[in-house]
């Protein structure tokens, strides 16, 4: 039964054991390199290698360069259209966010059977929460640096009758506080759900097929749902590639929206 545990794929395993580090307030913290950290590092290295190849700077781009420039243009369009002319400053951050999440999402779908089963760091709530808090932290820092205490105007919608203003301020504050949570859970939930469903259908393929072949006779009928499950796995894998790209894009787009709120505070409200 353990063979079809769909949650096993999310289990953290130590790869390199490092001595725990003592952090004030938290006590001993285990900073050992785990499969999750290895997957993050592989993604980061792959991004660097890819863009080192893509940054050849030829006037007529090759395939790699064309893809790299398309990704650059995608995020550049996002930041400049959402944040405006100041978007250039935040472009590297949003781009790193986008490409890192996308690469982790997509690499998590790679599975060299019997050789390597790629881990998906973005299916870890700690990772998505860290990314979300980092984004919101940047939004808050930028908000205070650019606007000072005027940052709090973010919670005060203009042109609203005084009578309902406190109520609206409360809603704005809650919606701001919920942002990191929604950022965290959207990415986490998508990755978790997709991988669980893939694992379940995959286990159907294996379990039903093995049952049919080992039992024989009437049990061969079990091959039908096995084959149907296999078709579902193929289709879902394609869907998961789209989801992996889309969730990275959504994360980057929302980061732009939140940054725009504080960068252009008072202009567009």
């Amino acid at each position: 039964m353990a063979a079809i545990d769909p949650l096993h794929q999310f289990a953290i395993e130590k790869v390199v054991d490092l001595p725990p580090v003592s952090v004030p307030g938290l006590g001993l913290v285990d900073l050992s390199i785990t499969n999750s950290v290895v997957a993050m590092a592989i993604a980061a290295v792959a991004i660097c290698v890819f863009f080192a190849i893509a940054a050849k700077g030829q006037v007529v781009p090759g395939r790699t360069q064309a893809v790299g420039e398309a990704l650059y243009g995608l995020v550049d369009g996002l930041t400049s259209s959402m944040i405006g002319h100041e978007g250039k400053k935040y472009f590297p951050f949003v781009f790193t966010l986008f490409i890192f999440i996308m690469t982790m999402n997509l690499f998590g779908l790679l599975n060299l059977f019997g050789v390597a089963h790629m881990f998906t760091p973005t299916s870890q709530v700690a990772v998505t929460a860290a990314l979300a808090l980092m984004t919101i932290g940047l939004v808050i820092v930028v908000g205070f640096v650019k606007n000072g205490l005027g940052f709090f105007k973010l919670f005060v919608p203009s042109g609203v009758p005084v009578a309902i203003l406190p109520f609206l301020v409360l809603i704005e504050v809650i919606s701001f506080l919920v942002r990191p949570l929604t950022l965290t859970l959207r990415l986490f939930g998508n990755m978790l759900g997709g991988h669980v469903v893939l694992a379940i259908f995959g286990s159907f393929v294996a379990a039903l097929g093995a049952y049919a072949l080992s039992t024989g006779g009437a049990a061969y009928a079990a091959l039908i749902p096995s084959i149907l499950s296999f078709g579902s796995v193929v289709a879902l894998t394609a869907l998961e590639f789209i989801v992996g790209f889309l969730q990275a894009f959504v994360f980057a787009a929302l980061a732009c929206v939140y940054l725009n709120d504080v960068v252009n505070l008072g202009h567009g409200h």
Binding site: V29, V37, M40, V59, E69, T96, L131
Partner: protein, 191 residues
């Protein structure tokens, strides 16, 4: 289920399997391994480190190259278009200059032609006038000659008439008429 060591598809070290068991055990039966806080700090710290390094490399090294290539291409394309537009304008202005020169040359040629025509016409008229004057002169001379010859002839006629009258008178009367009478008679006859 969760208390048993899970089979490890990665073939990781036994300590990994133990960690898995431990994680799954703390997560509870059927619980998500993600909600086991044991691995949160390590993942977050490493994520921040990797993200910071990736951000620095992309920001300072790789993205400027990619963006530079895009900008260079756009600059080159717009530069080429500007060049082409400038060359086109140059060609157009050159064509206009050439057309103007052509028109000027044509006007000049026409002027030259008409000038030459006028000059030759004037020369011809001049020569004609000279010739006419010459002819008129010769005509006048000839007329004068003719008149002189006629006058001469007329005086000769008078002399002949006087001679004849003298002879006739002498024959008829036998006496020679004086020339004074003859002259008076001739003048009275209106000769």
């Amino acid at each position: 289920m969760a208390d048993q060591p899970l089979p490890n598809p990665d073939g990781a070290a036994p300590q990994g399997a133990n960690a898995t068991t431990e994680a799954a055990g703390q997560g509870g039966s059927g619980g998500l391994p993600q909600f086991d806080p044991t691995w949160w700090p390590g993942q977050i710290v490493w994520l921040l480190i990797i993200f910071a390094v990736l951000y620095a490399v992309l920001w300072k090294v790789l993205l400027p190259k990619v963006g530079g290539a895009i900008d260079a291409r756009e600059g080159r394309i717009s530069g080429d278009i500007a060049d082409a537009r400038r060359l086109k304008q140059e060609a157009e202005s050159q064509a206009a200059t050439a057309a103007a020169e052509m028109a000027g040359a044509r006007a000049k040629a026409q002027k030259l032609g008409s000038d030459a025509k006028a000059k030759s016409a004037a020369q011809a008229a001049e020569r004609q006038k000279v010739e006419e004057a010459k002819l008129n002169e010769r005509l006048a001379l000839a007329e004068a000659d003719i008149r002189a010859a006629r006058d001469q002839a007329m005086t000769n006629v008078r002399g002949i008439a006087v001679e004849t009258a003298k002879a006739i008178v002498e024959k008829l009367t036998g006496t020679a008429a004086s020339s004074v009478d003859l002259e008076a008679a001739m003048s009275a006859r209106g000769a």
